[in-house]
């Protein structure tokens, strides 16, 4: 879907410090300011200092919308993710950095640790570093902050993996439904009829989407929805708690298979049930979500609904570079009248659409034929 361009930029631009103000304050020409800012030519130390002082006093920050001169591109893209030590994001960061590097861009890493305060702080840092674009996986909120960041900097902003409410820019992520359908079918084929879910927190768009996709797949397969559902963050601890809770149910009332909507909650689930002597996959089949490098080496190797991590990362870089380049072409258009010159960055927004990549099932050793309940 193509997002419509916002039009309230005029008002915002009015009270913004421009390079013209800097020049006036420093008592130099705009081209001198430009030379100092871009470091492109010789300027006397005295003039240079005056420009720097003016920049600092006025709180000038180069702005793609308001700037009259074209600043040098930094060829830096910010990557704002929750935590790189989560293997999903580690792999994503790796793919993104490779793809960016191949095209002459560097990646600036920002781990938010799911803290909103830290996300906001990082946006400010990214603005100071004048990044050309930002790829964002947020803890959930942040839509308004991102819109503001976009307006202030004109940098390209793209949401990755998780959808962000109130954010109007493009999004690239996985569609949970294809993988969910395959997972449910796989479990049905193995004779499972009692399937439980370990889902992510409620109210988070992506978490809700995964849950809905799985419920839809269950209902389409003629199974009842929501008979066993455990809720929590995408962590080992959530899975362990779910596993312990499952093990405490009477044997006849337990699911014979569980689908977890993150990889770590699947590992935790296996850990939790095994503390009560329930072994996977003999007594319980487990399907995870994500497909990081761990899924392959875990014992038992984990059957997962796989996210297309590589495609997602590569496409994200491709998209954001298109957005950046479109914005650049836009700036190279002949100058227009000063007021009308504050054009909304339509090209940036319309350069790309949302992209939804299908998930798919990877079958490994954590799923096996259902055993009749009587034998357990």
């Amino acid at each position: 879907m193509v997002r419509s361009a916002p039009v309230e930029v005029h008002r915002l631009a009015a009270n913004q410090v421009t390079v013209r103000d800097v020049a006036q304050k420093a008592g130099v020409s705009i081209s001198t300011v430009s030379r100092v800012l871009t470091g492109s030519a010789r300027v006397s130390p005295e003039l240079r200092q005056r420009v720097i002082d003016a920049v600092e006093e006025l709180g000038y920050r180069p702005n793609a919308l308001a700037r009259g001169l074209r600043m040098r591109r930094t060829a830096v893209i910010g990557l704002l993710i929750p935590d790189i030590s989560n293997p999903f994001f580690g792999q994503l960061a790796r793919v993104v950095e490779d793809a960016a590097n191949n095209r002459g861009y560097s990646i600036l890493l920002c781990n938010s640790q799911n803290s909103r305060a830290r996300e906001v702080q990082y946006l400010d840092l990214l603005r100071q570093q004048q990044v050309d674009g930002v790829l964002v996986v947020t803890s959930g909120a942040m839509g308004e902050e991102l819109e503001e960041f976009f307006k202030l900097t004109g940098a390209a902003v793209l949401a990755l993996d998780r959808r962000i409410p109130q954010f109007k820019g493009p999004w690239i992520g996985g569609d949970p439904y294809p993988g969910a359908r395959q997972a449910v079918q796989h479990l049905l084929d193995l004779g499972h009829r009692n399937i439980g879910l370990v889902r992510g927190v409620e109210g988070n768009i992506s978490s809700d989407e995964r849950y809905k996709a799985l419920n839809r797949a269950l209902v389409e397969a003629g199974l009842p929805e929501e008979r066993w559902t455990w809720v929590g963050e995408y962590t080992l601890e959530t899975g362990i708690a779910a596993g312990l809770a499952l093990a405490e149910l009477p044997a006849q009332k337990r699911p014979t298979a569980v689908i977890a909507t993150s990889e770590f909650s699947a590992y935790g689930l296996i850990e939790g049930v095994s503390r009560h002597g329930i072994s996977v996959p003999d007594q319980l089949s487990v399907v995870g979500y994500d497909n990081t490098a761990f899924a392959e080496v875990f014992r038992p190797a984990l059957t997962v609904i796989a996210q297309p991590i590589e495609e997602m990362g590569e496409l994200a870089v491709d998209f954001i570079l298109r957005m950046i380049n479109n914005a650049e072409q836009d700036e190279q258009l002949p100058p227009v009248a000063p007021v009308a010159g504050m054009r909304p960055p339509a090209a940036v927004k319309e350069a790309v659409e949302d992209a939804v990549l299908p998930t798919y099932l990877v079958i490994r050793s954590s799923t096996a034929p259902a055993r009749p309940v009587s034998s357990s």
């Binding site: 100092v36 800012l37 470091g39 240079r48 200092q49 420009v51 720097i52 002082d53 920049v55 600092e56 006093e57 006025l58 709180g59 000038y60 920050r61 180069p62 830096v76 990557l79 935590d83 790189i84 030590s85 293997p87 580690g90 792999q91 960061a93 790796r94 793919v95 950095e97 490779d98 590097n101 560097s106 990646i107 600036l108 890493l109 920002c110 781990n111 830290r118 702080q121 990082y122 400010d124 840092l125 990214l126 100071q128 570093q129 004048q130 080992l236 590992y267 935790g268 296996i270 850990e271 095994s274 503390r275 490098a293 761990f294 392959e296 080496v297 875990f298 014992r299």
Partner: protein
């Protein structure tokens, strides 16, 4: 967002005075300086890095050059680096080299082109010449995880030899004598040191190292699996395996299980790294935990110290972090509970 102009206006002083106070340069009366700092905080002043970098020539950018951030070891190191960088207002540019020299060179060049204030470098063993160039060019650098001989640069490293020795000594204490090892790539210092730790422990206990017990892996799970199959096929089968990392140890566990043998009763397995999930796999993996997050933290702290004390002629330091043996089920039979109490968790 406020500027130094607003701070100056509020206090009725010149912007130059505010600038001197905030940047800790030049003379400002102590009492006034405190008032300026308090006002800056009150007004939510954030330094404008553009102005700062134009004035100081500093970019507040650090390049972190690592083999592979998809590897959770390096990701944890990166987290440590990044947390400290964040606290000090530095931005972190990440570079994945796969440990390949040409990629390392390329990223070093990029770091210089971008005028990064400093570099944290985790490289391969053989790459040295351009590191010398960097040092001579005066670019602040800290080498992490790998020791590079003959280079006068701060380094933060893990003691791999000691960790490996502790792992093998643990097996020896359990009564094992026929202990095999699956080594990592011998062109990396970590793998060489872990192998040397194995050799030292065996020699100190006068134990025989049969050539066929020394197998070469590549730190990937598959190589641990394949090399363990070879070990199992030997006429004189070892009773324990020390794998130079956890991934190869996991491969070993799979091969042993497929051969219908039990761990640790038939064969004990010890890994290295303590990756996440080492405590969740079955059997839970005995391994050597090495500081990862802390390694990154210390490297970044050291780099910031260098950046802030550029004028201090201080000799390069080598900071050595200590490994810790974590005993679990793959070497020691027993209930989960008793093993857990050994690790103190």
């Amino acid at each position: 967002m406020s500027t130094i102009y607003e701070i100056a206006k509020k206090l009725g002083v010149s912007t130059a005075t505010v600038s001197r106070a905030l940047n800790n340069k030049g003379y400002v009366r102590k009492e006034l300086k405190q008032r300026i700092l308090a006002t800056a905080e009150e007004l939510g002043y954030v330094p404008n890095s553009l102005a700062k970098s134009l004035a100081s020539g500093l970019t507040k950018v650090i390049c972190l050059i690592v083999p592979d951030l998809a590897n959770v070891f390096f990701a944890l190191v990166a987290r440590g680096v990044e947390d400290i960088a964040y606290d000090h207002g530095y931005s972190l540019i990440i570079c994945n080299t796969d440990g390949l020299e040409d990629k390392e060179r390329k990223y070093v060049r990029i770091a210089r082109e971008r005028k990064a204030d400093g570099i944290i470098f985790i490289g391969s063993l053989m790459s040295r010449s351009y590191l010398t160039e960097l040092v001579e060019a005066g670019i602040p650098m800290v080498i992490a995880d790998r020791y590079v001989d003959g280079l006068h640069v701060d380094m933060v490293i893990n003691d791999n030899l000691k960790g490996a020795k502790a792992a093998v000594n643990h097996l020896i204490r359990l009564g094992h004598q026929a202990i095999a090892t699956i080594r990592g790539p011998q062109n990396t210092q970590t793998a060489v040191d872990r192998y040397l730790g194995y050799v030292e422990a065996m020699h100190e206990h006068f134990l025989d190292i049969r050539p066929e017990w020394v197998r070469d892996g590549d730190y990937k799970e598959r190589s641990g699996y394949v090399q363990t199959q070879r070990l199992l096929a030997l006429k004189e089968r070892p009773t324990a395996i020390f794998a130079a990392n956890d991934l190869m140890a996991l491969g070993a566990l799979t091969a042993i299980e497929e051969a219908g043998l039990r761990v640790p009763q038939d064969l004990a397995v010890v890994g290295y790294d303590d990756i996440p999930l080492a405590a969740q796999v079955r059997p839970r993996l005995t391994t050597v935990a090495q500081p990862k997050y802390e390694l990154g933290q210390q490297a970044m702290e050291r780099l910031i110290w260098r950046l802030n004390n550029a004028e201090v002629e201080k000799k390069a330091e080598i900071i050595v972090l200590q490994p810790r043996l974590v005993v679990r089920e793959s070497s020691l039979a027993g209930s989960i509970r008793s093993v857990q109490s050994v690790q103190g968790r």
